[in-house]
Point group: D3
């Protein structure tokens, strides 16, 4: 490893690590979010490529890739957050697909959104549910039938 006299890694090394964090994030992003995640990254290329880099390298490479919380559990937390925040329908669409990708069942997801009504109220629970309807329809998962 090339180090300067002061122990600082070179710019070359830093760039390599930056790319590695991005690559690791992209792998996680693609596995979890599928094409939806990649489309977001591509859509940012001409307006805010650094934001795209950070979504991937930090959000997915540094945080999401950590083993301390299972991917399925991360999606449950994320569904809760996006429903509560409101106005995040595009992100909900990506993450409802992600939730299905990592093993949550349609019944668990719709039950999570019913549960959300208790804490966030009906309007936000309804908004999230209508995004789920769109996603589930695209994947041929309607009607959702109780277990």
């Amino acid at each position: 490893m090339t180090m300067t006299a002061t122990g600082t890694t070179t710019a070359t090394t830093e760039a390599a690590l930056r790319q590695e964090r991005f690559d690791r994030g992209m792998e996680t992003l693609t596995r979890v979010d599928g094409e939806g995640g990649q489309r977001v990254v591509e859509a940012l290329a001409d307006i805010n490529p650094e934001l795209a880099h950070q979504v991937v390298a930090w959000g997915f490479g540094d945080v999401y890739s950590r083993p301390e919380l299972a991917p399925r559990d991360r999606q449950l937390v994320t569904l809760g957050m996006l429903t509560a925040l409101g106005g995040c329908e595009p992100q909900l669409e990506v993450h409802l697909n992600a939730a299905l990708n990592v093993g949550l069942t349609p019944v668990e997801i719709t039950e999570a959104l019913l549960h959300a009504a208790v804490y966030c109220g009906f309007p936000k629970a309804l908004n999230a549910t209508f995004v789920a309807k769109k996603v589930f329809a695209e994947r041929g998962l309607l009607p959702v039938t109780p277990a």
Copy 2:
């Protein structure tokens, strides 16, 4: 009334009561929200029927039907909440119709949204006002003229 030895009502009774709460809620929902409310319930049938049931049975049957607060007053509180929450334009559309249905005048409604600017800021007040413009236009209530 059939009771088990331990005083628990039977599942049959429970189902009957569940239906009654729903029926009472549906009556209130239809009277207040009109077709808008029914469309929401129908739209939920294939994705989250239990959420639809709870909106009707709990939201309208258990809470909204209570006489402690007049329907007109409930809509004033609701307009305030939906404006403040943000991102609830579909629910605002239903409840602006409801507000008119229970006797609020167009002038009172638009004044409530001006009042909302003081507490929520202009952006949320404007968002709600443009939903009102759509609802009032559909009902032939434009222009709104001061009292």
Copy 3:
């Protein structure tokens, strides 16, 4: 009235009108919010006196004083907004007092907060309710007994 050649009112007139709007607002503020409102204005004197001026002159003088919506109705909208916004406990305290001052009953207020649970979820309804408990206790209004 002294006008410049271009029809602009003088600075003196503008200052007089600014003061009048403030005075009208202060009268409304005091009638509605009582001491709570005045304390807010005083507390702002050394940090942001212009914000204090605008709360009074604009919020109360220009908006709240308008006859298009009754004071009682304004408080219903306001309770809805402050409950939904969250984190506005100091303002809720002032406005729960205001709500009582303009004629809302304790039962109507607590019912409005139950109603809020349907739209904002339990956590925000509970936060607002515990502020009401403090205000009602101070005014000797506990326990609240159903009509």
Copy 4:
């Protein structure tokens, strides 16, 4: 079962069912939230007993008791929602205890709050984390050490 001629259950039956839903909710509430939940119910007795009833009978009896989503999963969704909503520190305190009660580990919980930073930003993640610090300290769970 005593039914009126029109098929309506009697008020007695309705009251019994209302109590049953409450009892079922209280059982779930106590198992999940422990004393924290009960204290909330008691604190509401003089200000809004109907809100307390609905938190228990609806929130816990009707929704939380449903088997469609595991208790551990419900807490993950709830931690996400309460962190995102902001200003819900009292509820977070109850539900962080609940999260531990239903089997989430301290590492999973703190990782969920790190994950929350990606979606809600650092300020809300920090606010929730400092509530966790209080709860974990009370239960002798500090320091949290990585798996």
Copy 5:
């Protein structure tokens, strides 16, 4: 200046001052927001003309016109607020144009939105960034290239 015996300015004077505040605000609004701001005012004419008046006379005439904070600085604060509030895409569109009009560069704006991710999380930063993409595309400012 015509004053009544009690020192109250006449209604005529009040109306003149009200118009002046509006005119001053309209000048600021047009300079900062351009056509976008005027379109909002026009769109309100039949539904809530008083809200339009207050946006202009108070928001722009009384507050925005004050010299205590530079127009460029006001837009930075505003971009932060609108991104954080969420659901304010129409207002963001107006104010992203305003930000460019008062001298913020595309790089500064996109960096502000990356900065927003740290405090508001990625979903809200992404929502704001996609509005910026629309505005910048309309003004021929894509791709945004680092300084």
Copy 6:
């Protein structure tokens, strides 16, 4: 630089870079936020050290340290966001100190909070202003006198 056959940097290099990003962030954090920022990091040590690391290494090392937006401008955006989010009084306290540290004047800050009333409403503007009052009092900056 030691690379594995597959081009992956070694764990040693990765750890060194991770530490460098942290060090760079800590330098920025200390310069901008002063002791307030460091206290937050220390308070997280036993509950969520990885969150502390990411606040510093990512928030300050990767994002805040970028030259594309001046420190003063970042604080204006941040004040807007924290005021709009609500419930972030601890973070506002840190960042109001930061705002003063990077050259914003007390008048500019209080004007920014008046400006915030237009977009977020009075309650959130007041909450932020009372945090400013606390910070300014500690630094001997009261009363704030207009320029």
